[in-house]
Amino acid sequence: MTRTVDVDERSPQFDSSRATDQPTSATHTRAKVRTFVFTFGIAFTLLYTVLERLNWPLFTYQPAVGKLYFWLHRPLGGEGPPMYWYGWIVNAAIAALAVGWIATNISGPWLRRATVFCCALAALWPTALAALRIYITDWATFDADFLNSVWVAAPPAFAGAAAITYYMPARLAERAWTSWLLIVPIGGLIVLGNSLLIYFVR
């Protein structure tokens, strides 16, 4: 009798816990998918811009001769024009998939901080390099050509990105996280569009 009562008492609890588990699991999956697709979007658009600017395609296709080369290939005589666009896209997609997967396996606050850091770094690194180049050509009173290097621009860019990440309030980082999904592609298009100005001012 006691056992029957126990079982009877437990059954609704058991059912209700199963019922609550299902939505929790669905919510958890949805949250993971959300993290993955948002991170993929931010990472892909950011990496595509960076890879295009650095000209780092995963492969180069030579359509005139139908040849595919790994990484960047400067065309040889008679090979015709090279195509890098496919290589940038595939490179960015693979890297963004990896970043998206990592994002689903780290905590939310870490992800928000990492996003702020990467986006700040992506903005500060070329800015630091541009500032160095302006300094070399307009201000330097000595032979400062050794400063014209992406690696010299790296330390201030990393320091700046780290400072921004450290001082940005956690709440702001969390609220701004989804906004990166629009800020990064629009910023990327501004950078890429700016690099195409040579066609419009000829």
């Binding site: 993929f40 629009l182 569009g193």
Partner: protein
Amino acid sequence: MDIIFSIIREDTFWSILLFTHFLMAVALLAAVTLQAASVLTSARQAAGNFIDRFSPVPAASYAAVIVLLYLPQALLGAWMYLKYRLYVRIPMEQLRHWWTLGAFEFKEHIIAMGIGLLPAYWYLWRQPLSDEDAGLRRWLTIFLAVTVWYAFGAGHVANDFRGIGS
């Protein structure tokens, strides 16, 4: 490819492909425009505008169509890009059509951005729609619509330079 070219001429094949690309572009353009208009109208309705009584098109129903059109359209464009690189861009450079060339280069970038945002766009339009992401959903939809409109315009100009009917 050789089997196809034994049936139809190579230039006819590429013309058919270009025309298919155009037809898909028109369908995609219609879908993104209606959806963008719908999200913009919803925003105005929420703000209590004079068109309160206007019933917008159910925007969510377009999302699957847009994803299913956007990706194959981008892949088809990427395939035809091979021919563009050899038979359109080189004469474009020789004839100094720099604006057309630059506009088409930007098309490559804007479409790449659109492809990258497509999974997030798909997620944002999944049912049930999240109120938390309403603003992001609206702006991402508009961004995708801009990418499609720009790509259509730049593609059309490139086609006028050397394509069907040019």
